[in-house]
Symmetry: C2
Subunit: 341 residues, 2 copies
Amino acid sequence: MRPTVHDIAAAAGVSLATVDRVLNQRPGVRHVTREKVETAIRELGYIRDVAAANLAKGRTYPLVFILPASDNSFMHGLNAEIRQAIVRSPAERTNIRTIEVSAFDPAALVCVLEGLAREKPCGIAMVATDAPEVRATVDRLVRAGFPIVTLVSDLTGSLRHHYAGVDNIAAGRTAARLLGRFLGPRKGEIAVLAGSMLVRDHRERLEGFTAVMAEEFPDLAILPVLEGRDDPEIAHMLVAGALARNAGIVGVYSLGAGNRGLVRALKEKAVDRTLTVIAHELTTHTRAALIDNTIDAILNQDAGHEVRSAIRVLKAKADGLPVIDAQERIRLDIFLKDNLP
Amino acid sequence: MRPTVHDIAAAAGVSLATVDRVLNQRPGVRHVTREKVETAIRELGYIRDVAAANLAKGRTYPLVFILPASDNSFMHGLNAEIRQAIVRSPAERTNIRTIEVSAFDPAALVCVLEGLAREKPCGIAMVATDAPEVRATVDRLVRAGFPIVTLVSDLTGSLRHHYAGVDNIAAGRTAARLLGRFLGPRKGEIAVLAGSMLVRDHRERLEGFTAVMAEEFPDLAILPVLEGRDDPEIAHMLVAGALARNAGIVGVYSLGAGNRGLVRALKEKAVDRTLTVIAHELTTHTRAALIDNTIDAILNQDAGHEVRSAIRVLKAKADGLPVIDAQERIRLDIFLKDNLP
DNA sequence: TCAATTTTGATGTACGTAAATCAAAAAATC
DNA sequence: GATTTTTTGATTTACGTACATCAAAATTGA
């Protein structure tokens, strides 16, 4: 049987109350006594029964998710996954609330974070906007003891405990290699459709993409980035325009959202040519396009995994427990038409 | 606050003892009374606090993993992950034991399963050997109330509750499309290295591979399968021989283990030609080969995820709780040199 | 040495559920 | 109506921990 607090009390030759004081770092224990208890804990290999402790404390985990108010299908999916998590809340002792902040607005994000500091949630998950003032606020909250994980978009260099999202540079590099290899010996131009270069994920994907293209596929030239604002209409216009103007385009990399517009443009303008297309995010639209060969590969991050991982990590941090790193690594999914879920 | 047993007792106008009898399906409750309690449960939205229940019961989850006694790096990795899970056992209330059975030996597997029926574990995870007698035994155990999940290798058509492994037909199809697309317009022959055609996973991968090759890449001809028994030495011999004999080989698909031998053969015999190579399972050897361009892509199943998923599912089934399907789906990882973990 | 202070022990209650016992009530049987 | 059987209630203990209270002991300072 696993040792209990009673066992360590007996082993250390102290009372239950003293063990409790040590375990919960309450005051009023002499240094030598504390050490006795601590060695007993170590020697017996005592592990606190978190379930019993939570029961005794009546503990719940008030968590806050801070999301940008942008309405593309990825964010809708992310929202849906959070709602699923809210449904599971009673069983998981969580108490999840979401807050929307206007997208790409560091000041608004900082304001929300400041407000949260007062209501004392036991964990914060946030889609980070990359700005110095956000970093400073996050660092301050972390130092004040709040567990914070970034979601989907990281805040590199900050003290956030964890990042629940994919490595976007690796994603861009992977897209480049897939595109390059699929095109083989063909030469020509590559159109890149992004949401906005103000978004860190998109910048990073592009950075990885251009790096591999330059290193390994010198016969393929990257055209100036089309910024579609993650909007299907704008994406359609931009891609259709590019295809009409430039007959040398042999491949397309869509690293943001708004792929419905991309697909429409491809079906209208590229019936007569063989384009190789890599897009991000598996949605109903991209899935259909992958199946009918309009798109050749889809890179995806699983929003459900990201949300569940964020919750697991926040709970673990709140309890001071370790996390299983391999379990919490968010993987880049590569979908061809053969391995769709 | 969540309702407790006290609340439903009050709401149903019965005593705590009766609620307990209903909840734990103990006898001695009249039909009408049972219904009163059940409607109270539904109306108050009562959810049993599993943590408190487990505490009261002193519950642990004795689980058994049945693994084939084969010593390739994948099985070693799987074993290592189970040992990790055993380390986490105290925190998860699990009590995990592994049993090795000689590989591809249905009779031995059946024998072990029969033996398990007597010791009453609360869940069984098994790497299945696909045979009618195994299926029959599994079905009998499932009907007797044992939660059973198959691991890595499935037992289709059986009553097993869950399969913690990848879709191997999809894996083969994906490999074929990657190989076909990477080769582009090139024509030639494809060498296929398998472990053994007696193993279901390998048969399925080959099935998916040949299907897509036939449908979509008619210019690539698949050579007779080389069966390397998952042994590096045999694999080396077979691949080296094939490369020496046949100058028309443009691609290799290695769908089993023993890739160390494959890599050695490639480095010896294919320095002068450009082969496209797809292999399964990320190990130190395949990882190094991917980085130095000897291998072009690696398909992988994450043994850690498989083990953790099997445990989660078995625990859930033992408690009669639902599982999150999306969370338990084991994904086929595709690694290029750019997205290695 | 006495008083003041700090440290420790003893004890009880609580969390939500399981499981057992025994008495009381209700229903079914004769 | 009396008897047996079934159903229900009331109550207690337990799981492992948290937390509070009050008394007792040990330590410190004067």
